[in-house]
């Protein structure tokens, strides 16, 4: 079936540094998402993105977070600067539509902030 890819699978950085998480969504999908999962806890919505713009973001999407998809390349989540509480697994997802449409998830990027 359709696959969402995420690069890297694991990233370790020092607190205060910048990190960029990359997502290669399903090719004909129009809506893109980031979710955060702290170990052993539920998946929490961060942001969704359509037509070059953020549509909705949650309270977890701090000012230090930003997303973009320049020229149809990777859909990225940038955190600058990182904090200890940003350590989590970040999942990217994409879908053809909203509401009813199934979201396809990537395998996640495990971010460890030291």
């Amino acid at each position: 079936g359709p696959k969402v890819l995420q690069i890297p699978s694991h990233q370790i950085i020092d607190m205060g540094q910048m990190v960029t998480l990359n997502c290669d969504p399903v090719s004909n999908h129009l809506y893109f998402y980031w979710y955060k999962q702290i170990l052993g806890q539920q998946m929490e919505f961060l942001v969704n993105f359509y037509n070059g713009k953020v549509m909705e973001k949650s309270k977890l999407f701090k000012d230090q977070f930003s997303v973009e998809r320049p020229d149809g390349s990777y859909f990225t989540l940038k955190i600058q600067p990182t904090a200890l509480e940003d350590s989590a697994v970040y999942f990217c997802a994409s879908s053809q539509g909203l509401g009813y449409a199934e979201q396809f998830f990537g395998p996640g990027t495990r971010l460890t902030v030291l």
Partner: protein, 116 residues
């Protein structure tokens, strides 16, 4: 407030036994409902989804779920589990928020362990 609740954090069953994983939602309308499975260190995979019509929906690998509007529930079932079904199962509901945008809200997950 809109929410999805999975009351059982952990479920352990023997191989070959039947299974039910519970899910309840809180929403003024009828949401679009999904069950996802997460195998260790992997992303989520869709098991099944409910949009409308027949309240019992069939999914992959023998899973099915039943939507109940009166109970605001969407429980997952399987007649006979296999050891390979051991994973974390997430119920999710797509609901429209106050901003008019749809959001997929997840339950806290149920860790299923199938004993040989």
């Amino acid at each position: 407030a809109q929410s999805v609740t999975q009351p059982d954090a952990r479920v352990t069953v023997s191989e070959g036994a039947s299974l039910q994983l519970r899910c309840k939602y809180s929403y003024s309308g009828t949401p679009y409902l999904f069950w996802y499975v997460q195998y260790q260190r992997q992303g989520l995979q869709l098991l099944l989804k409910y949009y409308s019509g027949d309240p019992v929906v069939q999914g992959v690998n023998g899973f099915e779920a039943e939507f109940s509007k009166s109970d605001s529930s969407f429980h997952l079932r399987k007649a006979s589990v296999h050891w390979s079904d051991s994973a974390v199962y997430f119920c999710a509901a797509s609901m429209m928020g106050s901003s008019g945008s749809w959001q997929l809200i997840f339950g806290s997950g149920t860790q299923l362990t199938v004993m040989p």
